[in-house]
Symmetry: C5
Subunit: 354 residues, 5 copies
């Protein structure tokens, strides 16, 4: 996280709208794909030159230009000039530290989201920025790497499944947002599993590593929250936006994604509560174990210290200790010791310390 | 909880409006019952074929179609097509992970609620989704299993008790919501009893299991809250909704359920406060007990350690230890020991450690 | 608290407006008193039959009907029918688990409040429900038992003291609310005294019972809060309500009670802060005491363990231990022991452990 | 604090507008001063009889009547009658438990504030109530005692310094409020110094008394907050109030005081954070010290207990213990002991316990 | 922090608008620079006399007057008189304890911000006040010392880089605000690095100093927050302000800075969460270490205390102790001791204490 910020400082002081890529370079070469469709027609191609997309700008069909990899500043710049995007938008696309948000520029709507993937190796959530530009008959999407989140939408368009081919560009934008949000449920599942396994571990054998894992989980939740919370505002904003770009029939679908977002936020909050509950349980179970150990020490020490003292008394070397000479003295002292031990045990049990 | 989410991911990427049942299958076969009534007439039947209900759609009487079991996707689908329900609504009915909410579609209002039951064996609250569709002269309700929450309403309609037979469909919808909310009070009672019994246990003999139970209770409360909180918004929304489907005379009843919801939320919040108070008491009582034990150890150790040292001194085997030869030495040392012990006890008492 | 809820469940499933008394029966017989007055006239009587009150409904004078004891459902019912009260209101009057609220029914305003009394024996706050119905020329008040909160208002009306006889019915309603709210200050005083005495106890000799009392106090505060918080909304609502029943000259008095409520809420919040501060002080004072005890143990043990070891050395029975034979050995060892003890004490003092 | 409330109960049940002084009597005799001025004229006198002020009511000049000491109910009453103040206002002036607030009565505005002074002896903040009545050409101010907060304003009027002589009565009211708020900064400084000295104490030698002082500080902050928070609302209300009594040119000054109030609130919040941070540091430093002590005990005990055991072995009196007869046995055992001790110390160091 | 307030009290009681410098004097002499430009022309000079700037007031070009050092009250005063600034604004410029805010005076807008710099030596964040006055064709900026935050803007204007030379004065104001906000990212980076290094330290070797550093970090965060939080309100206010001074084309840039501010606030909140997480980890790691140490003590003490007791028994000097005479007794006792030790170790391992 500190790394993200470090990069941001590269820009401090430069004029606004200066195009610099801020973020990790996640793919080697940029992949540009264009899908152009209406109810009857369908065309899909991968272009190596951004100029090949420009013809679609004025076509009556819906055009989806997807760009995987945003480190080639000049591609973004050319595209921006052709589609007349505001320099600040291009800057935001290139700067991967954006917060999810949307901005309405009358001619087009700009949306920033986070695509989350769960890195099984590192056991962390990876966030990647996705930017969408929704125009009257086109959608341009930008991803940091070649992801699979949009794959099913591509195949739905190809096969004409669902209503996507019959609907205008705003429905495509909705479908992309929906795909990203649906993907969050998979992340939640992973976290849910991790919580469950940690809960079991907590009952059976809590170790110091368990604590570390609980704290990691907490941090993951925190970063997840950061990606999801602003979505709420974003989606309710999109619905309320009086933009001619969003049709009423699509607004109802936006409402649906909004519902999912609320559900995800609810689940995250529950998870947070559970994790902090786990922390409490961990801490009290550790201190319980400690207490049990201490109690045993106390019992044994309290039992033997007086006995040892008595043994010490009769280990003294005074010449005139009349008891030492008696035949019955040794067994008597042993008996006394047993009596004291038994007495203390009874006392402990009465006090409910045993 | 993690399970719910796991299922949701089955849908990730599918087009919106795809009908898939998400949730546990809670009953074997689907039960469909139809009740049709107005002030004079009453008709009740259980149908095996969903098509039998379709005739009631245009009837001037109030029709209540209740469907127990939602895993037969095609029943829901047929019903939806006949009553012209939006595909997203059908999707929500089938997906049991919904949050309580209402949506106004002009021709009908869609409401999602949670029916809660207390599982005595597992000592947990079971949540089941109930969906209502309120149309101009019909109410369709969906439950996951054959529940008894609506039984009393059925008998009130049958017997013409109360004003239900004289009122339009929105009053029926209100009655169903009221039945579900009234049922929450029973859950609250169970929790209240559990809290009381735990409080007693806390005073008499707190064990580690008590802690576990407090944490369980906390979790139950959390899940209860998740079902009830959104109700507040839902009901105040229903009142404010400028829908022609909700008459003014019913709105006052909605206000009444709203009042109950606020009362339930208040009680849950009190319970939460009490449970976290119990946690504090538990923790401090455990540490108090521990401290009492430790204090005894300290007393005994502090008392005997110096005495044992003295005994150790006179256990040394030096040849020239003049005291050892004196007749009065042994009793003198014993007296010294007693003096030291008494002195320490007096000191302890003065310091208020005893 | 759990008891209240238990009773509520008796009603689950019954049609709304069903009149059942929910709550403890606090008086044996119901007492009905009627006070009828205007600037010149005054009439007060206790009636045994509710019908005797009905004549006052249309009288131009202000009529105050006070009913102590609400377990006789039919009295409430008859009164309701005569004064045309909505069944849901009658239900609320009978159900003592209401939250303070007001409802405006155009022809009359319905207000629910809590009368609090401090039970000196049990050291708890007892809450009792008071319901007010304010009509154009009457006020009907319901109490669970024969309370003394309204006594001074009665005498003010009798003696024509203050402006009450010159004012319409809304001023009477205000006077009743004011009496109830003023009474809260007495409760606050009791709590204030308890906090003060606990604070003293905390400084002089905190026991485990102190902790219990702090927790009780916390709970009392919680229940007090539950009665007072909704009042804020209630009173600001009454002021803003565009009801013809509340005259402008009375609104300014409502504003005054509102001010008192804010003051009470502020005081409760301060008390809460103080009580949680006390909890912190208690816990740290307990742990400080424990630490002091432990320190003494540590000192004594640390001091004597090495000395005892030395004594142990010279208590060994090896044949060839040359030191044992020397005359100076015994005093030398004693001196060594003293030196070690002094050394350790100096070390402790340097480390500021003493 | 409990005392304040105790007094309030004296009034419970009395009709509203009954004039009773609630609060401590802080001065012996009431001092009434009148200052009357416009740009050219200036007149100042101390009157012994409240009637002497009445002539100024209709004068075109600005009149400031200041009353120090509010326990003479009849003075307040006469003044109120003459200036046509609402009885509830007179009641509020006399009842010193008011919360800062303002009320707009069209003909005049009523403002309640708290003057704070720091009692160096008791190390507590003393709050005193100041009430202002702002009329078209007069300001009446009430204080509980003869304070010095307004002294500089008097001299500014006398000397015609600043713009005060040129401005109408609302500017005078502003000046009084500003003086009171500016005075809060002095209190903040005192608290700031106390925090600084406590922080130093915390680092050098935290004692149990430090804890007590931190808690006191916390309580002071709490009471300070209670006086300042409502000011925010009060001042933003005064600005927004559409009263003809407050001119636009004065509103900008009110905005300025508002800014100061926000600054004061910010500082209080920072202080609160710092104090609770100090509490954390105190507690962990105490427990660190304890831990250091315990560690030494553990080290010494762990070191010597095994050695003492070995000494115990060879202190046994068995007849057949062959080692005892060997010449090398004693030095060998001593060597063994040293070896064990060194081994343990190495182990401890490796485990980083030393 | 306490220092800041101390200074403020110098002003208590003075008439508003009295010009006194409140704050540290950070530079020796005041530096005044004037930059005057439009698309074609550019002029930059450092003036020693504030009167030299006055000619630019009415020039059609954009003029930026920058004043480094605000302790020369008369410079500010002359400038204020010439540019017709309200006395309260001049007061705010001189008083460095302001909270970030903006005020719209129709003819000009007044903005207060904080420039933050990270002091590497003291490891603290230094805040310096920057005030901006935006007029129709001029911007006047005030800084406490000669800072480098605005350097890049100067060079952009000089070189005609970006769109700054083509835009009116509000864009210049925006550029200054943007520079200040961008600078916050550098502070965040420093904190991020510090957090990372502390996190590492926490895992490898947490010391008491680590705790101190965590608390320092917390305090830094608190002060950072105090500077940044009000910015949010400030910037959204500037956008909404219906001032003719801010053009629509600039408003979109303001929106952009607003976005950065939200991002910074988010990051601060994450940092706060992380720091409090670190505190938890620190405390539990310290207590874990302590527990590990205590456990060893317990083990060793529990193991040896009974054995020492047995040795004590056979160290007693009774004449008639038959065992002492047997040949096999000594080895038998040694074996018994080994058996007890092994038994206890097995028991400990079974109880999972080892």
């Amino acid at each position: 996280m500190a790394r993200l910020i470090e990069k941001h400082s590269k820009k401090a002081g430069l004029p606004p709208g200066t195009l610099i890529h801020i973020g990790e370079k996640k793919v080697e070469s940029v992949r540009i794909t264009v899908i152009d469709y209406d109810e009857q027609n369908f065309q899909e191609k991968q272009v190596s030159n951004i100029e090949e997309c420009f013809q679609f700008k004025t076509a009556p069909t819906v055009t989806w230009i997807n760009i995987d990899g945003i480190h080639h500043v000049d591609i973004i710049e050319k595209l921006g000039r052709q589609f007349e995007l505001h320099p600040l938008i291009l800057e935001d696309i290139l700067n991967t530290g954006q917060r999810p948000k949307f901005e309405d520029f009358n001619d087009y709507i700009f949306i920033v989201l986070k695509i989350l993937t769960y890195d099984e190796q590192k056991e962390t959530i990876q966030a990647e920025q996705a930017s969408l530009v929704l125009g009257p008959n086109f959608v341009i999407s930008f991803q940091e790497s070649i992801g699979h989140v949009f794959e099913q939408i591509r195949s739905r368009i190809r096969n004409g499944k669902g209503r996507i081919r019959k609907m205008p560009s705003d429905y495509l934008a909705y479908a992309l947002i929906d795909a990203i949000v649906d993907n969050y449920f998979i992340i939640l599942e992973k976290l849910g599993e991790k919580i469950e396994s940690l809960q079991e571990q907590l009952v059976t054998k809590p170790t110091e590593e368990t604590l570390q894992q609980i704290h990691n989980l907490k941090r993951e939740m925190m970063s997840l929250r950061k990606s999801v919370w602003p979505l709420r505002e974003l989606l309710s904003g999109l619905q309320r936006a009086e933009s001619s770009l969003i049709n009423e029939s699509t607004a109802i679908y936006m409402q649906d994604v909004y519902g999912h977002t609320i559900q995800i936020i609810d689940t995250i909050e529950s998870f947070r509560d559970m994790v902090s509950g786990m922390l409490d349980i961990y801490l009290s179970s550790i201190s319980n174990k400690m207490n049990a150990v201490m109690k045993v020490l106390t019992m044994i020490a309290t039992l033997f210290i007086p006995l040892t003292f008595i043994a010490g008394i009769y280990g003294m070397n005074f010449r005139y200790m009349p008891e030492l000479e008696r035949r019955w003295a040794y067994p008597a002292v042993l008996l006394l010791m047993v009596a004291i031990a038994v007495g203390m045990l009874v006392y402990f049990r009465k006090k409910k310390w045993l």
